[in-house]
Symmetry: C2
Subunit: 139 residues, 2 copies
Amino acid sequence: MAPSNRRRKVADRLHSAAIYVLRQARAADRKSPLGPAQLSALSVLVYGGSRTPGELADAEQVTPPTMTRVVGALRRGGYVRLRSCPSDARSTIVEASRKGIAALQKARAARLDLIEELLAGSSEADLTRLGDAIEALLA
Amino acid sequence: MAPSNRRRKVADRLHSAAIYVLRQARAADRKSPLGPAQLSALSVLVYGGSRTPGELADAEQVTPPTMTRVVGALRRGGYVRLRSCPSDARSTIVEASRKGIAALQKARAARLDLIEELLAGSSEADLTRLGDAIEALLA
DNA sequence: ATCAGTTAGTAAGCCTAACTAACTATTTGC
DNA sequence: GCAAATAGTTAGTTAGGCTTACTAACTGAT
């Protein structure tokens, strides 16, 4: 097979697999009080550290007004706090609260539990190969 | 490493990779006149064949009212047709039109183009390993 | 020192897409 | 033949996207 055809075929499988995995994972989110946009933004804060709404909007590939609302909802729920930015009075720093960290870890664990179920039929060799292949992809 | 820990770790990577891949793919959807819910439902019809709104709702893991609206939007856009169901007058059969098939193929190609870009840095060996690993997962 | 232009964030308004509750039409089972 | 179950729709709410338009604050050039 020509290289370009092979890449196309792998892209296709990757697409299907990603849909399959995230569909399974999203089922877990329905039990969380946080919506998907809120969970995703909170995840950036918890695993990537505090940052401004604008940086969060960039990370989430949404527009600033959308992030304003997401952050507003997280703040009203007590999942994040806002601090004023020392270097630029226009900005604020958004940081996850204890409650936010706990909620995120719980939701994340529920997602991974469901994804693990997808791996139930995989052998040790399959797991190794899959793990290594993904590592190469994300590197 | 204990087997359960390894599975957890692979689940985690799979989760991250799926988010990464679909975020990239969704960027392509912004150029389509169809929204993501419409594209996804249309994809089921095109690749999986015609079916009732209820079956479509099951396939998409949404409630029947949601699918009613998605199908309504697709019908108004000319992407699907409705036929009466011969065996049950309560039901209708939703089928993709030529226009729907063409729109879906175009959107899908745009997605795969973007995913292929993620594979640009992968060697032939990486591609083979990734393709095989995903095949094993989806099997 | 001021004033023009840029940047960060928010507000308002609109759209899609998800939900639940309640309704209609049809089928099925006793 | 009628009660119960089923398929789908309608109505209303909520979350989360967008664009447009605005204020506040910063930057840089007179």
